[in-house]
Amino acid sequence: MRTRRFHMLVSAIGLSIGLGLLAGAATEAVAQDNKKVLRFIPHAGLRITDPILTTAFMSRNHGYMIYDTLFAVDDKMQVKPQMVDKYEISGDKLTYTFTLRPGLKFHDGAPVTSADVVASLTRWSKNDTMGQKLFTYTKELKAVNDTTFQLVLKEPYGLVLDSLGKPSSNVPFIMPKRMADTPASQNVPEEIGSGPYRFIKAEFQPGVKVVYEKNPDYKPRSEPASFTSGGKVVKVDRVEWTTIADPQTAMNALIKGEVDIWEQPAFDLLPELKKQKDIEIRNLQPLGMNYMLRMNWLQPPLDNVKVRQAILHAVQQEDYLAAQVGDPEYYKVCGAIFGCSTPLATTAGAVGTKKADVAKAKKMLAESGYKGEKIVIMAPTDLNSINQLPLVSAPLLRAIGMNIEVQSMDWQTLVGRRAKMDPIDQGGWHIFHTAWGTADMMNPIANAGTKGLGKQGGFFGWTEDAEMEKLRDSYAREPDPAKQKAIAEAVQKRLYEMVHYIPLGEYFQPSAVRKNIKGMLPSPAYVLWNIEKQ
């Protein structure tokens, strides 16, 4: 009797387990609509939908989905008209007259007008480095009629079109005037653009999921797509951005075909991904990214240029690149501060790219009067893309006799703390490391690391250098590209001489893409038009 009851109980347990597993094993596919859906894992979750408020690449890439630009760049970094149909420059180079392409429409059906353009550019100029510079030379920006607008300068300025066509943050996207009238320190309240995709607000989950649908009213240009310019032809009906925080999970999803593109696979997973027959590794950002070591000029002993130069001679790029990236296929030792493959690329003045000079660094440190003061390096442990860099700097600087303290923290703590100008014992800092896209630093105006404005508008570290500012100004005024290049060389030499920052090499973050995805465009920003899912 007992045995029978026991069997009944075991059966009951088995049934309960079985029911659970059977229910779980119900593997009917999720109902698919008949639209062509492109599924994409971005490098982070989108939270800020305003690409003017923030310089974050996520917001910039989102901006390219739903907004359009007046100008854009091709694969030779030449500025090309995008929303602009034609433009004229007056003989004295003071008046630029632009005419918009006919038929441009926002996603709410309203036509794009000159008033929208004027409001958008004005707002952009509050936050963007190149925009700020352009507007210091601007006498007036005005709408002539609904499709024509004029930029009138106080004096000739060599970077008008470069500014309007800049491909990376902050990109001068065009929004409806009612949105662009929002103060530049506030998020715009809507997501209405005139770009190739429409933002589907009802499906937006900040940090989790963003959905875009093809904009049926968008009229691509007739030229072939190239970088951010040319015809933005949309060949899928819907794009879903799904954030997957765990790299292993992201890789599994890509291998199983649950997603089509993984924007930034972890470098250590690339060998496994390369083994997969349905997946390709593609470098879609040919301009690459750049690591840098930034010092705080307000903080003794780094206020002493000789100490900074000693640090410059103590480091070598290969160490950083090998530790952070690993595979030489994806990095390049390069001392050019405006990118290693851009029109302004040069090796002028570059120090410490290939080999550190430890003996010289020690000698310079001894001559500097350094007395063993503690140097605080802020180390972000949670940011996988740069978390090895401080750990490389520490032993290199200890090797020349510096007293180094590495303070571990999360990236957001670092971002908050680097804004402090206070002494070390009150939460100040000496050194942090970061990485910038080449597209954000391709000339002396765009590259915020070259600023010599100190506490009044300088980037964190507050490099104050009047000579550098003179050079930057002369670059901005110079319309002749050959002369611009000569000035850019002088800027680079000055940067190394005063050690505004130390370039730590260029790297390329490839994407992992399923092989049935065709037509992806290399670009300084991540763009998702022109893509076919076969």
Partner: protein
């Protein structure tokens, strides 16, 4: 009973007040600057200062607190600093995945663990009992992320039975929901099965030695009636307590499972908010879930009364 519920709800008000003050101060005194995060890496200090002023973060802390409490009094949890979405909406979007995972885990764990614990107690010292206890130790010992990756490797990547990641809400249909929730549920259940099975076994062992169980047997009652109606009912109080605590822990502890299986739940919302110093979200989630914990404890107390008429409050 109604008096019990009302008195507990009234007592929860000062608890929530203390939680609100504590969370607010903790966040304001911790390092990090939402304005700097919002502005981006290459933003100028001036742009950051403008954003900070716009968010009201440059105002004195007491003033910020009063503003927040004023909003709360009107039922407004505020808006996310980063996305500008209402916090209540964001919590609403994330509650379903977390609660679904917590509930399916709880149901699955109880369905498996309680019968296992009863049988282990009934067959104390047998191979079955030892097997259950060994499984229990394994359940406590294997980290949930290790188990998660193993499950994905076999059941998703090798056998292709389940998707590797993601969550489907119930409105997408029961099959889609179950297909996505099955692996995370089984993964997360493991430790709770171990816990519930051990507690059930221990509580049952105590009761099975009581005189009234012997009497029940002497009366000729069937074995399952003795086990379920007499023994389990009297052993239920500690089991219900642990299940209640387990449920509360589940809600707060699903973040690793959510990450491994890419489930957009409350756990990830909070982790992302902490990393982004999105104060309103952190404050809102902690407040809401303090309330949920109060309700869970209340539900446990109510269950005590229903299970054991001797208990009075």
């Amino acid at each position: 009973m109604l008096r019990l519920i009302l008195s507990r709800l009234v007592a929860a008000i000062p608890v929530m007040g203390v939680v609100a003050i504590f969370v607010f101060l903790l966040l304001r005194l911790s390092p990090g600057d939402p304005a700097a995060i919002l502005a981006g890496d290459t933003a100028t200090p001036e742009a950051i200062a403008a954003i900070r002023a716009d968010l009201g973060l440059d105002r004195p802390i007491p003033e910020q607190f009063i503003t927040w409490i004023g909003q709360l009094a009107q039922g407004d949890l505020g808006k996310s600093v980063l996305s500008k979405q209402p916090v209540a909406t964001m919590i609403g979007q994330r509650v379903e995945p977390t609660m679904s995972l917590a509930l399916t885990t709880l149901i699955f764990a109880i369905a498996v663990a309680v019968p296992m614990g009863i049988l282990a107690a009934w067959k104390q010292g047998s191979w079955f009992d030892r097997g259950i206890m060994a499984l229990s130790v394994a359940g406590f010992s294997i980290p949930v992320f290790v188990l998660g990756y193993i499950m994905v490797f076999f059941f998703s990547m090798k056998l292709d039975l389940f998707p590797a990641q993601g969550f489907a809400p119930l409105r997408d249909g029961l099959p889609a929901f179950l297909e996505r929730i099955a692996l995370p549920t089984v993964t997360l259940s493991f430790i709770y099965i171990a816990l519930f099975a051990r507690i059930t076994r221990t509580a049952m062992l105590e009761v099975l030695n009581e005189d009234y169980i012997r009497t029940a047997h002497a009366k000729g009652l069937k074995e399952h009636v003795v086990l379920v109606r007499h023994a389990l009912r009297n052993a239920a109080i500690p089991i219900v307590s642990v299940i209640g605590i387990g449920f509360a822990l589940l809600i707060g502890g699903v973040v690793i499972t959510e990450t491994v299986f890419n489930i957009p739940g409350i756990g990830r919302l909070v982790v992302d908010a902490v990393l982004g110093r999105d104060y309103p979200i952190i404050q809102g989630v902690i407040l809401v879930f303090s309330g949920v914990y109060v309700l869970i404890n209340l539900a446990i107390d109510v269950a005590y009364v229903l299970l054991d008429p001797r208990i009075r409050y």
